[in-house]
């Protein structure tokens, strides 16, 4: 394969830090091996534009921000379904979808697997290593009790582990060469009308879960209060010896 078309499904970055741009780091990493044509899609409010624009600095060619009042109140099913419809209706072509492992707001980790299900493509989760082979991609998945290397054919989706080591960051983090290059690119904001998504197919109408109410966590009724250093030392020593 001479080149790869990659769609990044990025979570809206909450802050300007390297861990908010893991898929972009992987794009730079893969560019060492193959020519990449990358574009990016995110679903969020327009106010997230300045942080999402950073993806241009990482060499992404187009960024689509899916934003509409109708999308408000979407649960993970509705969010994934909206993104899936956007991908289909825009006829976006891709070999590979890269997604953050957890979303910014709910931290559920649902979106990548749901999109893979809707698109009916193979997927890998918590990916910590990628090797590009001729007609397939080899990924290292990391789980609680084991890790495995699997080979996937294209098109496929990878949900990326958010832990990356220093060496990886060294090789791929944004340099001043990237930042100070002239990009002259604009994020394309797409609403439901442009994406041909009806009200019933998104937002609260399409959600299958609802937040009933918010509650306070139950605390403990009584506890022991210590304000003297001597008492604190004695109590902690007693507890540690008791357990040990």
């Amino acid at each position: 394969m001479k080149s790869l078309k990659v769609l990044i499904l990025c979570r809206p970055p909450l802050r300007d830090a390297i861990e908010s741009y893991i898929p972009a780091l992987w794009i730079k990493e893969m560019r060492h091996q193959i020519s990449i044509s990358a574009y990016c899609m995110s679903m969020d409010r327009e106010s997230s534009k300045p942080l999402i624009e950073r993806y241009f600095d990482y060499g992404v060619e187009e960024i689509y921000l899916i934003s509409d009042k109708q999308f408000a109140g979407a649960d993970t099913f509705a969010t994934s379904y909206t993104l899936y419809q956007a991908i289909c209706n825009m006829e976006l072509d891709f070999d590979l979808i890269l997604a953050d492992a957890v979303s910014t707001y709910g931290e559920t980790g649902h979106i990548p697997a749901q999109i893979a299900a809707f698109l009916n493509i193979p997927f890998a989760i918590n990916v910590a290593g990628i090797v590009l082979a001729e007609n397939n991609i080899i990924c290292k998945q990391i789980f609680r009790s084991y890790e495995e290397n699997i080979s996937l054919s294209y098109p496929c989706l990878l949900s990326l582990n958010s832990n990356v080591d220093t060496e990886f960051i060294n090789r791929n983090c944004l340099t001043l060469f990237d930042i100070m290059a002239k990009h002259h690119k604009e994020i394309k904001i797409m609403n439901s009308e442009q994406l041909k998504i009806s009200e019933k197919q998104c937002g609260m109408c399409c959600s299958h879960t609802i937040v009933v109410n918010a509650i306070k966590m139950n605390g403990k009724n009584k506890h022991k209060l210590i304000e003297e250093s001597r008492d604190a030392i004695s109590e902690l020593n007693k507890l540690i010896k008791g357990v040990g």
Binding site: A17, I18, D57, C173, L176, I179, M180
Partner: protein, 371 residues
């Protein structure tokens, strides 16, 4: 004039911050740090775009110098970068020929070349033009004889810009390579601070170089030297302004956590006042920096402003570090805290690039006080 970072400068700041946090500040080895800086584009960002760098104007360079002063933890390493940049960001782009530029800039940008500016001699410190180093013309070659001392980056530099007296009783600036015959670098001079910027003597004994290595014209040396000193004051002290910001932020965090007599030490006015004064000096320093950037971008000379800036920042940077040590108490005096290193690094700021006393002398003459 806008007194805050524009959108691009904010992006540069966060890029440098991420680079410093994730890569630079956790590396100890000087050459690895240098390579990281080159790969990240730190050097390119402080080199004008007309010689292959990324900087479009003087603001870019001076504001980036301030950012690295704040975000790179090792002030000695920042000092080494700035000594390199005195040559790379201003002196050579302004005065050197295309031949020299083509020769050295790829290496200055990719970090394979380190530059040093060699002016001071044992008998000519403040009295900089009392030089004994001789630069003579002989047909197609130039010969240099003499010695320079207290040369920052001396032990590690690949290229030196050397200023000496010529036979016409004026001054010449030339580019000398460390590999040229007749160049000898002395042993490292141990200093009180700024350990990551090594310093040495450099000796020139019948050092013959081609005439193409003359920077500017043969008698241009004094102008080059004056203007480079002006730039040096703006550049290095922009970094020190950034370092003052870092020291102040660290003090704020400390006084909000450290508790004595049942409350945070920041609650005591004698402590909080020290930090408030740091903020005052930083704010005033920034205003002057923006003025200097604006004047330089518009082609105006800044001899007076850079002398004021150098004096003000040199004095306040030193005070800031000493007050930080006082705030941190015994912990500030110990090596572990990192504050005593800030003090040792700061103290030289009242000395190099012309002492504080010399700056006051320059200022007094420039405002019309006759000698």
């Amino acid at each position: 004039m806008d007194y805050k970072l524009n959108e691009m400068q904010k992006k540069i700041y966060s890029g440098i911050r991420n680079f410093a946090d994730e890569i630079l500040n956790i590396e100890e080895d000087f050459y690895k740090k240098w390579k990281h800086c080159a790969d990240c584009g730190v050097f390119a960002s402080m080199i004008p775009n007309r010689v292959g760098g990324l900087a479009e104007n003087f603001s870019d360079i001076l504001l980036i110098a301030k950012m690295i002063g704040e975000l790179f933890r090792d002030s000695g390493f920042v000092f080494a970068i700035n000594n390199n940049m005195i040559v790379a960001s201003y002196l050579l782009p302004t005065f050197a020929s295309e031949v020299i530029i083509k020769d050295v800039y790829p290496g200055l940008i990719d970090g394979s070349l380190i530059a040093s500016y060699a002016v001071t001699e044992p008998q000519s410190g403040s009295d900089v033009y009392n030089m004994l180093t001789k630069i003579t013309r002989d047909g197609d070659t130039i010969e240099i004889n003499g010695s320079k001392t207290y040369i920052s980056n001396g032990p590690i530099a690949n290229i030196f810009v050397v200023v000496g007296k010529n036979e016409e009783n004026s001054y010449t600036a030339v580019l000398v390579k460390s590999t040229d015959a007749g160049v000898e670098v002395g042993g490292e001079i141990k200093k009180m601070g700024l350990e990551k910027c090594p310093m040495s003597e450099v000796f020139f004994s019948e050092c013959i170089i081609p005439k193409e290595r003359v920077i500017g014209t043969f008698s241009h040396g004094q102008t080059i030297c004056n203007m480079t000193l002006d730039w040096e004051r703006s550049l290095s002290f922009s970094s020190h302004l950034g370092t003052m910001t870092r020291i102040m932020n660290s003090c704020i965090k400390y006084v909000n956590e450290r508790r004595q007599f049942g409350k945070t030490i920041g609650s005591f006015q004698l402590v909080s006042e020290k930090i408030a004064r740091m903020k005052v000096s930083i704010e005033l320093g920034e205003l002057l920096l923006y003025k200097i950037c604006d004047m330089k971008n518009n082609g105006k000379k800044t001899f007076l402003e850079s002398a004021i800036f150098k004096y003000y920042i040199g004095e306040n940077y030193t005070n800031c570090s000493l007050e930080a040590m006082q705030i941190y108490g015994a912990y500030g005096y110990c090596e572990e805290g990192g504050i005593e290193k800030e003090v040792r690094d700061a103290l030289a700021a009242k000395i190099y690039s012309g002492t504080s006393e010399i700056q006051l002398d320059i200022i007094s003459r420039m405002i019309g006080i006759k000698k």
